[in-house]
């Protein structure tokens, strides 16, 4: 098994990328680019059950559990939000439920997203993180009950 980069290491990568930007214009352009590159979610997943509440835009989030690791896929009708999710996926996808549950995600603050985005939008980001952790928790519990 090849060594998986830890969540902290992946966060560090994003922080380093952002340190290259001088202005918020550049940061947004980067986030928008990430959003555009994130593959669209298949239509079958774009249903109410997969919506994340608490965002001004619509966000769909799905998770799969395979070989002990959680894989996330997501989409949004707003591209900046989609870029933000893309970063969350980049950091959290491919980790164990425990790793995801314990992730502190300090990078959000370090790249200035909590202070720069207005309260309402930050809450959207918070809602996404919460939903991802909820998925991880659900897989963990499923796993434990399967063992018994």
């Amino acid at each position: 098994m090849t060594a998986r980069p830890s969540i902290e290491e992946l966060e560090e990568e994003i922080v380093e990328n952002f340190s290259l930007f001088d202005s918020w214009d550049e940061k947004y352009e980067y986030i928008i680019d990430l959003g555009k590159k994130l593959p669209a979610l298949e239509d079958e997943h774009k249903k109410d059950d997969n919506k994340v509440r608490g965002c001004q835009s619509t966000v769909w989030l799905v998770a799969a559990y395979k070989d002990g690791l959680v894989e996330f896929k997501a989409d949004s009708d707003a591209v900046i939000v989609k870029g933000l999710i893309s970063m969350l996926i980049q950091v959290l996808s491919g980790h164990t439920p425990d790793e995801i549950i314990q992730a502190k995600l300090g990078f959000i603050d370090r790249i200035g997203m909590t202070t720069h985005l207005a309260q309402t939008r930050s809450n959207g980001l918070a809602a996404m993180v919460k939903q991802m952790k909820n998925f991880a928790l659900a897989f963990k519990l499923q796993n434990e009950s399967a063992k018994h």
């Binding site: 918020w24 947004y28 001004q56 707003a78 900046i80 939000v81 985005l117």
Partner: protein, 414 residues
């Protein structure tokens, strides 16, 4: 004194802007371009200083005290009532009830008048362009009473379907609750005509003036509406101030709302009697400071002149409409012939939230989303719009900044 000089000039927007300290601030390193005036307007020095003066010089609880401060505070509070009466053209000062804003005023009517006079099977007509504040209070009472809330449909251009209105107006209709000017679209509704028609069948009419009081001359006697509500903070006044106008006979016939101090005549455990209008509906210590300062806001508007403001804002609206329509893929939602200075739009392939974030990054404040009018957004099959709304201090240069900002943002997003 400044007011005198100003009124002599045609419309000196630069000197008007001097009265609004907040307009000098920078946002994200750029000069603030504030185009969210339909949500709330900024405050002139007259209001800001007036609030400080109130607390520094004559703060006291009103109506009961016999000391000098109480007298001064009471006089200022009641002077504000006279100012509101004049501002909306009411016949009597006791027809003005101070509230926290339009929402509380609507709820007051819902919980008193509607609770008494609306019954099972009755209907309340609203419009499809109402703010949630002029839908939900009626739904609450309708559910309690077994009545129905029925929307008058909105046409493609953002005007009301007046044929449908005539059809929906029946002997079952007890109330028509209608917005004077739409916060999302800017549409100015023919309220005088609506009142005339409603009165023919004996229905009462509440006009939500939240968006009209700041832009249009208001004459409630001419409109002949039974109730009129507005919020102070949308007329350059403090948040937490506002008023309900109601025809005297109606206000007298209505049951009381909140019980407490000020609204009583005599209290005993056998029988409590209630105070006269307007105090009957002003229980507890009111928001004295903000209500006092509301007068300073209205004086400020009157000092410039409603007609002149309207003319200037209509110029801004026409200029912005033309400029925005040049932007590829941009579609204005709401093209009524009569509009306040509000423009809602969507851009093909671009989410309003993304536009809002990128414009904010350029120091431009607009509003994005459903603007508390979800049924209206559903009507147009859109999740929301980007809305730019102008005030008397908005400049043509700011509209240019909006257009340039939009063009750049759209390019980045597409």
């Amino acid at each position: 004194m400044e007011t005198l000089t100003r009124s002599e000039l045609l419309f000196d927007v630069d000197s008007i802007r001097e009265e609004f300290p907040i307009l000098k601030r920078m946002v994200k390193g750029k000069p603030l371009v504030y185009l969210d005036n339909a949500a709330t307007t900024q405050k002139p020095l007259a209001v800001i200083d007036g609030l400080t003066r109130y607390y520094s010089e004559y703060n006291a609880n009103i109506h009961r005290g016999i000391h000098s401060l109480a007298e001064e505070a009471t006089a200022a509070f009641e002077a504000s009532r006279d100012a509101v009466k004049e501002f909306i053209g009411a016949a009597h000062r006791e027809e003005i009830i101070f509230t926290r804003g339009a929402t509380e005023a609507i709820n007051l009517v819902a919980y008193t008048w509607a609770r008494k006079f609306v019954g099972a099977g009755d209907e309340i007509l609203v419009s499809g362009m109402e703010h949630h504040s002029n839908i939900v209070p009626w739904q609450i009472i309708a559910e309690e009473k077994g009545a129905k809330v029925i929307p008058i449909p909105v046409l493609e251009d953002g005007t009301l379907d007046m044929e449908a209105f005539q059809r929906l107006l029946t002997e079952k209709t007890k109330l028509v609750a209608i917005v004077h000017a739409s916060n999302s679209l800017g549409t100015i509704n023919p309220v005088k005509y609506i009142v005339e028609q409603a009165h023919v069948i004996g229905a009462k009419v509440l006009v939500d003036g939240s968006q009209s009081a700041v832009h249009l001359p208001i004459d409630v006697q001419d409109i002949d509406c039974d109730f009129f509500v507005f919020s102070g903070h949308k007329v350059y006044g403090p948040t937490g101030s506002g008023a309900l106008y109601g025809k005297k006979a109606l206000l007298e016939a209505m049951p009381v709302f909140h019980g407490g101090g000020e609204m009583i005549k005599e209290v005993s455990f056998d029988r409590t009697t209630y105070n006269e209008l307007p105090y009957k509906y002003e229980a507890g210590t009111p928001n004295i400071a903000d209500t006092v300062a509301l007068k300073f806001a209205l004086d400020f508007v009157n000092g410039i002149g409603k007609e002149k403001i309207h003319q200037y804002e209509q110029g801004l609206l026409a200029y912005a409409t033309d400029a925005l329509e040049q932007i590829k893929g941009l579609r204005i939602i709401g093209k009524a012939p009569e509009k306040t200075s509000v423009i809602s739009f969507v851009v093909e392939g671009v989410h309003p939230q993304d536009l809002g974030i990128l414009l904010d990054n350029k120091g431009i404040a607009v509003r994005t989303g459903h603007h508390c009018t979800q049924p209206l957004m559903d009507r147009f099959g859109i999740p929301g719009t980007t809305r730019a709304s102008f005030a008397l201090y908005t400049t043509y240069a700011e509209i240019d900044a909006l257009v340039a900002g939009l063009e750049r943002s759209i390019k980045t997003l597409l």
